[in-house]
């Protein structure tokens, strides 16, 4: 009845309302799709070992620390955690140390060879980089870098460096060159102008790309498993003990990998889209 008497405007408002409902429902469904599996992993990590292997499962955690304390006290885990942090920190330092100057040069200068360098950086995207660990394993044995944190960090840096270059390039491009020029006319040298004017403005973005480099290294599995034996990182440790380790160890280990990653992504969320936007160019 009411449909007949409705004005066209009201009908379109109704259609819009239905569209809004559909939109919200889709967002919520997609949100559940992303979050529910993580929640289930954490439920396992916060249950006792008996509950993890029991059936049927509870869908809520019992907040028993049995699984987690078993994981932390398991032989090799504490050391693997430490190695992961060490390698990721080194990767972070190396990729920003090499990448930021390159990003600055790309944003401020026009010079022959610029295109070639950009091509080299973009080319790294077309290759499955973790495979590099295979030939490097031999090279590292010759140079004494095998099974060291720095050796693995060097491989992880090839993964993180292109991102560091592209992110810092877009950061520096976003800072007007006039600011720098003003500092020069006021008597600053190039270095001083960079340190006092540009760096403070770029620092938050540089920190974000550092966090991103850390995350890349923290998560990497293949190269870590190939290049480390005694000094295994957490991913390498978990991968190599998949066959024999009990379920509750796997789930506690998975949670130990996931929770820092959640924090990292939260920390850099503002920059995620900016850095992929320029990656398109």
């Amino acid at each position: 009845m009411s449909a007949v008497t409705q004005t066209p405007a009201a009908a379109s408002a109704d259609a819009r309302k239905a569209g809004d409902w559909l939109l919200v429902a889709t967002v919520i469904l997609l949100g559940i799709w992303v979050l529910l599996p993580i929640y289930l992993l954490i439920v396992n990590a916060l249950s006792s070992p008996e509950q993890v292997t029991a059936f049927p499962k509870r869908f809520f955690p019992s907040f028993d620390t049995g699984s987690l304390s078993f994981f932390i006290n398991f032989a090799g885990v504490a050391r693997a955690l430490w190695n992961s942090v060490l390698v990721a920190t080194l990767t972070m330092i190396l990729s920003i140390g090499f990448g930021a100057p390159a990003g600055y040069a790309l944003s401020r200068f026009d010079f022959p060879g610029k295109g070639t360098f950009r091509f080299l950086v973009l080319m790294t995207r077309a290759f499955p980089l973790p495979l590099l660990a295979l030939p490097l394993a031999v090279m590292f044995i010759r140079t004494g870098l095998d099974d060291t944190a720095i050796g693995l960090a060097l491989v992880h840096t090839t993964l993180a460096l292109p991102f560091a270059v592209l992110i810092t390039f877009s950061l520096f491009s976003g800072i007007p060159v006039e600011l720098e020029e003003a500092a020069w006319t006021l008597g600053c040298t190039r270095l001083q102008a960079f340190r006092k004017v540009i760096l403070p403005l770029a620092l938050p973005g540089i920190a974000a790309s550092a966090v991103f480099a850390f995350t890349i290294s923290w998560n990497e599995v293949f190269a870590a498993a190939v290049l480390t034996i005694e000094n295994r990182t957490l991913t390498a440790f978990l991968l190599q003990s998949l066959g024999e380790s009990p379920l509750y160890l796997k789930f506690a280990g998975g949670t130990a990998l996931v929770v820092p990653a959640l924090i990292f992504i939260f920390a850099v969320r503002k920059y995620l889209f900016a850095m992929w936007g320029i990656a398109n160019r």
Binding site: T26, R108, F111, L120, T158, V221, G243, F273, G277, N280
Partner: protein, 281 residues
């Protein structure tokens, strides 16, 4: 020394680094793949291709990519579209959708192990619903199909975010005026999506697809966590040749094959989704 030399000085560390740890290892791996004990030979490729596992391995890897990537493309487009329609809670939705971007493939495998394991959440749900009276072995050696489905779901869950982020960044570059003009001429949402968003998104789609396809050929830890050796994939077999079978040369040949497939597909998508210069925004 300033002026001309400075950009080169700034680029030098990154360039040297990429030469030593990116270009040189590729020469090495190619060299190792076509030699044995110092003499040129194609035996490594013959050994690799002669293994009974090889056809299954190639088929699994390609099939997984062929199924996972299109689904991810659709999901990423859906996520990006609904997010761009949202008026409130936009950044929260974006953060949640981007979360898997920071999660290691190994952790993603363990997350879905919590669901598909014999005493996992899927079996619990099914038994609560009364669908099954006995627990199902989803990941046993006899259930190749369910292993494949579990791996595909974990991959879709994990790596849709990377495409979504690239597409969201690309959508931000499309001028709003186009949509306004289309609306004036009476184009509905679907028509606007097909006629404006998709064509103008082509550079981003190209980047997203290339990146994702390469990652799909690198699938390794997800499979290791969910299927063990029951679902052989190329990267896992490369790892096996290196460690279990201790044959570096065949491992190098296998790595070279993955490289060749990756480069082949990169060139293919560069060509198929080519954006003419005059058609860029």
């Amino acid at each position: 020394m300033h002026g001309k030399a400075l950009p080169y000085l700034l680029l030098m560390p990154a360039t040297l680094f990429l030469c030593v740890f990116f270009l040189y290892p590729f020469v090495l791996v190619a060299f190792e793949a076509v030699t044995r004990d110092g003499a040129f030979t194609l035996d490594n490729f013959r050994t690799m291709a002669g293994s009974w596992k090889f056809p299954v391995t190639v088929r699994n890897t390609l099939l997984l990519a062929a199924i996972v990537v299109p689904i991810q493309l659709v999901m990423a487009l859906l996520m990006a579209s609904v997010v761009s329609q949202l008026e409130t809670g936009r950044s929260a939705a974006l953060y949640i959708f981007a979360i898997p971007l920071g999660i290691s493939d190994l952790a993603a495998g363990l997350i879905w192990l919590a669901i598909f394991d014999q005493s996992g959440f899927l079996n619990t749900l099914l038994s609560h619903l009364g669908v099954v009276d006995r627990r199902i072995m989803f990941l046993g050696y006899q259930s190749k199909l369910t292993i494949f489905i579990a791996v595909a779901l974990a991959e879709i869950w994990r790596a849709t975010a990377i495409m979504m982020v690239i597409i969201v960044a690309g959508m931000g570059l499309i001028p709003k005026e186009y949509y306004e003009a289309a609306e004036v001429f009476g184009a509905g949402p679907w028509k606007r999506f097909v006629r404006i968003t998709l064509p103008l998104l082509r550079p981003s789609l190209q980047t997203a697809i290339i990146l994702r396809v390469i990652l799909a050929f690198e699938v390794f830890a997800v499979v290791a966590a969910l299927g063990g050796t029951n679902l052989p994939v190329l990267m896992g077999e490369t790892y096996n040749w290196q460690f279990t079978l201790q044959d570096r040369n065949v491992a190098a040949a296998s790595a070279l094959l993955i490289l060749a497939i990756s480069i082949g597909f990169t060139l293919f998508f560069l060509r198929v989704l080519r954006v003419p210069k005059e058609a860029r925004i």
